[in-house]
């Protein structure tokens, strides 16, 4: 099963248009943060990508493991209840910038470093 997933992941990356790959690598995290806040992504996913709730769960986005291609597709033609972000609302560069911002977020900390969470 793991092998199948790996193959699928490779195929997914392989099908990413080269322009997208370039955008993903060149993303401006600082601008991505501005766009993330201005375009209301944080309303469901939280200001630091910690996830939230709309009609259903809004996934955690901080340091998302989602490949850029899948991320791009989810913005343009989202599944579930996420609103669509067509290019006239969010340029290709801005998509890459948001992705870079999400990758730059601090993400999870070790639970052991937070005493409050060790008392459960």
């Amino acid at each position: 099963m793991n092998r199948l997933i790996q193959i699928a992941a490779v195929l997914m990356v392989a099908t990413v248009p080269s322009a997208w790959a370039q955008e993903a690598s060149k993303g401006d995290a600082a601008n991505g943060k501005k766009v993330y806040l201005a375009d209301g992504c944080y309303q469901c996913h939280g200001r630091v990508g910690q996830g939230g709730l709309m009609t259903g769960a809004a996934p955690i986005l901080a340091q998302t493991k989602m490949p850029f291609a899948a991320f791009h597709r989810q913005l343009r033609s989202p599944v579930n209840d996420m609103p669509p972000y067509p290019e006239k609302l969010l340029s290709e560069k801005e998509v890459a910038d948001i992705y870079a911002f999400l990758q730059a977020l601090p993400g999870r900390r070790p639970v052991k470093d937070i005493p409050l969470l060790n008392n459960y």
Binding site: D39, Q43, R47, Q50, M54, I60, P83, P84, L89
Partner: protein
Amino acid sequence: MKKQQIGRRGFLKGAGAVGAALGTSPGASTPAAAQQTASSSTAPLPNMASETLPPAPDTQQQTSSGGDFMVDVLKQLGIEYVTQTPANTFRGLHEAIINHGGNKSPEMLSCTHEEIAVAMAHGYVKIEGKPLAVLVQSTVGLQHAAMALYNAYCDQAPIYMLLGNSVDASKRLFSFEWSHAAIDPSVIVRDYIKWDDQPGSLQHFAESAIRAYRIAMTPPMGPVVLSLDSEMQENPIPDRAALSVPPLTRVAAPQGDSGAVAETANLLVKAENPVIIADRLARSQMGMDRLVELAEALQCPVIDSGGRGNFPNRHSLCHSGRGGAVLAQADVILGLEVGDFFGTTHVLSDRIERRSRSIIKPGVKTINISSSDLTPKGNNQAFQRFQAVDLTIAADAEQTLPALIEAVKRGTDASRRTAFEARGKRLEATHHAMMEQWKSDCTLGWDASPVSLGRLCAELYEQIKNDDWSMVGNGIRVTWPRRMWNFDKNYRWIGSSGGAGVGYNAPASLGAALANRKYGRLSVTIQGDGDLMFAPGTLWTAAHHRIPILYVMHNNRAWHQELMYVQAMCNRHGRGVENAHIGTTIDDPNIDFAMMAKSMGVYAEGPIVNAKDVGPALKRALAVVRKGEPALVDVVTDPR
């Protein structure tokens, strides 16, 4: 033109003559005076008759009242509190409660809005297991109360409402007495109450009071309304000894058909992956204990939909957090008072075509034990989308569980028991991994400002975990408590509004806290800003009656669910979200909830924006609550 001169003697003579001709008493000389004035072109003269003649005989004192008798009935019912906003149509009963009844069992509680009075009753009954009474003014008061009644109806909560009404038109004096009267006052809420009556006599009242209580408390529970004539409340009783109060006898809730129960047990025992979904199931600890016993007998996962405190969230068989995953594997699904079977077993897509997709496998056997079908109403649509459940057992699930547990145990042989144990071990490992994942997720945004909800809930639990706490409200479906806290008792959680009518959380939490007070429990609620602004006067009631409760504001400065909806609409049109805040945010100016609470006598802190300040503020506020007073901590949070 010569003016007509009328002397005092002549005026009195004339007035007396007209009065006699009209057959009125000397004291009722208004028509004569009016006629006299109308025939004169001079300025109106004083009504000399009313000033000089003795008044007509009119009884001014009484030693008994219908209201006194009504209080006797309420005492027999064991009603401990009455919530109300004072009003003229129940002044007779009001006076009887505070004097004849000594303002004790029932004790009168003052509310600044009828919606608060009903919502308090809603929260109270979910902790106490029996209703308090709500006194409401006919027409104007009932219309204020209507929204909260609707929530209670949807939530199957028994509300015991007494409505003041002026039935006899010939006895209504002032204009407002007419606008506060109706020939059928309950009609405006009849779509979402179980039963109502307008007794024609005190004996009728006594019988209807007992009947109403019994109907309200029989599953599916729901609101009842008794319209009480104001004259009946106020006037003396000719013969108190002739009135009797029927005893309140026990009611056995409807139990599932024995054949259907046996069939259900057989399906569950034979299933490889049975799943239990519980919604408005557990009315008490007994309900939770029974569900635990059933789940452990089968070693099957339970999805607690949260309509009540149904199942301990730290139990290894609690898989509420991965409901989709366990349902996808299920071959038998047992629903227990599940209000939305369709929504639980489908993914719903809030798009233009509003599609849905089943997440359960074809051929899965589905059963729902529910009392909901026993008292259907046609107008409101709270029954949710139709789901073709294979077997519906029209009965009270909590009452049916003992028979089902017995049948499951009887049908489980050694080989099945071995299979169950193996299943239980797998589920335990998955449950543990889920809990560890949630802890890790909670670290995200730990130091963020505005404060993350994970941090807020962790800080709150740290302060209350060694108390006998009860989470009496969670206005905006914050998921962290049910992931991280230890909900090991039924009273740790009371469920939500039922009808999703905003304005429930603040007063219902207070009602539940009122019930918790005598058990010494620590009541906490996570309070949305939009919800509190529907009923801010709740805070005054909390302070006035010294009801200990901690309100922790989840202040995202918006009606945020609606903001997300509007944002989705904006994106659907490709118009951008920059205008989505219009009509959906609660800022400019920001509301200072701490100042608001303080103005009503409630200890308060905030607004708090830094995560490190949350814990110390909660600690100080809880010190106040533990002394028996309410407190509020306003935390400016991330939206979700």
